[in-house]
Amino acid sequence: MKAIVYAKRNLKELLNDPLSLIFTIGLPAFLLVFIISLNKSLGLNEAFSPENFVPSIIIFSYSFLTMFSAILVSKDRSSSFLTRMFVTPLKPKDYIIGYMIPQFIIALIQSIILYGLGLIVGLKFSWIILLTIPFLLIISLLFIGMGMLFGSLLKEQQVGPIVSIVVQVVAFLSGMWFNLDLVGGAFEVIGRILPFSHAVDLLKYILANDFTNMLISLLILIGYILVINILAIITFKKKMKS
């Protein structure tokens, strides 16, 4: 119950911040419509077809969850807000759940809006789209955990520049703008080691009914999610004690 109260506060903090709305929803929505429409007219790249680009842009939009959850946690730390909270009867689990639930809700809103726009600009409707929603929420855990981790580790002024690098990495190494197989070399290797391309692939495989490859991507992601979230929880608890 206390975790829900804390989650409500965090959700309000995020939704009342116009910048977070612009970046988590506005920018990805604009890119989706703009790039797919441009691709339709000019036939630029297969990566920009609705089937490929909609999953990519959803994952890209989640990278801003990392940014804004990291900003929220580090701001709460630096502004003494968490000092006040640590005197209340809230338990460590209440903070962690309280920070994660709002991100889940925003991830769900992002997914619904971006799929909706995708359908408008040419994505073919299929019931499988609905099947991807629970998987999207699993994927969002990766980005939410990274946000908690960065927010617990970094100072408020450091969060913006450092998490921007994550956003760029997601953009360039997830296969969002170009197929990693076509690039090859070290670029492809790093892209395959990092979890972001597996997140995009997971969605593409589900949409393409390729369940064998889907399972491989899912297992890799779950490994990353577990490691990052455990690290985030340990770091947050450590900061609480100090």
């Binding site: 119950m1 206390k2 109260v5 804390y6 409500k8 506060r9 309000k12 903090e13 009342n16 911040d17 701001k75 502004s79 003494s80 807000f81 000092t83 006040r84 909270m85 640590f86 005197v87 209340t88 009867p89 809230l90």
Partner: protein, 243 residues
């Protein structure tokens, strides 16, 4: 009745002692000021008493509950207004208050009622729908203290409540704090001597983590044979050159 009892309370960070064998008793309903220069150990003392940091040795009792063993029980008896204004910036004034009340298990209706009550008491009603980040420093500090009071604590810790406020905001806050006198036990740290004189029933002067003297202002004057608090503070603490 004793509300807080410190028994040889100490805190070391790395090998540096910041609170050194502090022993004190604070009675229920007292407005108690912890006075000392920067780094004297005032804030660390409050942090130990409120469970934010663990003592290295010694103990303190809040209504017979040990800060080492019974912090869960103590948490329902205390609240704090930290040094920096600790408010949720993107929430409105009333949302901030209701949020803290709900953390302390008040029902929605009771949280609303308590928020209205405190907004009236702290003259925040006209600003109830304003986001906290839009408030002036003085109003932010009022909100911060109101948030600490919404849980009806028996003990309130105020860490430099008027730091950085202009004279008018400071005086306004003093009036609010004076209205709280005798109703709850307040432990305040401050640098402002006039604040101590205006508000505190008892004073403890701390230097380098050690208690130099404690008691009423008259007691301090009697003990030191000095007439004003500034002279008393300076006489009991080491000069900057010696630090």
């Amino acid at each position: 009745m004793t509300a807080i009892k410190l028994l040889n309370l100490s805190k070391q960070y790395d090998k540096k002692t910041v609170v050194d064998n502090l022993s004190l008793e604070i009675n229920e309903g007292e407005f108690f000021a912890l006075l000392g220069f920067n780094g004297a150990g005032k804030t660390v003392t409050i942090k130990m008493l409120s469970g934010l940091t663990i003592p290295s040795s010694g103990d303190a009792y809040i209504y017979d509950y040990s800060i080492k063993n019974d912090m869960d029980k103590i948490k329902s008896l205390i609240n704090i207004s930290p040094q920096e204004t600790a408010i949720a910036n993107n929430l409105t004034v009333s949302e901030n208050l209701e949020f803290v009340a709900r953390i302390y298990d008040y029902s929605k209706e009771d949280a609303k009622r308590k928020a209205i009550e405190l907004m009236n008491k702290f003259s925040l009603t006209d600003r109830k729908d304003d986001k906290a980040k839009k408030l002036s420093g003085g109003f932010k500090r009022r909100l911060s203290i109101a948030m600490a009071l919404i849980s009806d604590p028996k003990i309130l810790f105020l860490d430099e409540p008027t730091l950085g406020l202009d004279i008018r905001s400071r005086k306004d806050l003093w009036n609010i704090l004076l209205n709280l006198k005798d109703k709850i036990t307040i432990i305040m740290t401050t640098h402002y001597l006039e604040e101590v004189i205006a508000l505190a029933d008892k004073i403890a002067i701390i230097d380098k983590g050690q208690l130099k003297i404690s008691g009423t202002l008259d007691h301090l004057k009697e003990q030191t044979k000095l007439e004003n608090l500034e002279d008393i503070l300076l006489s009991l603490t080491e000069s900057k050159e010696n630090i």
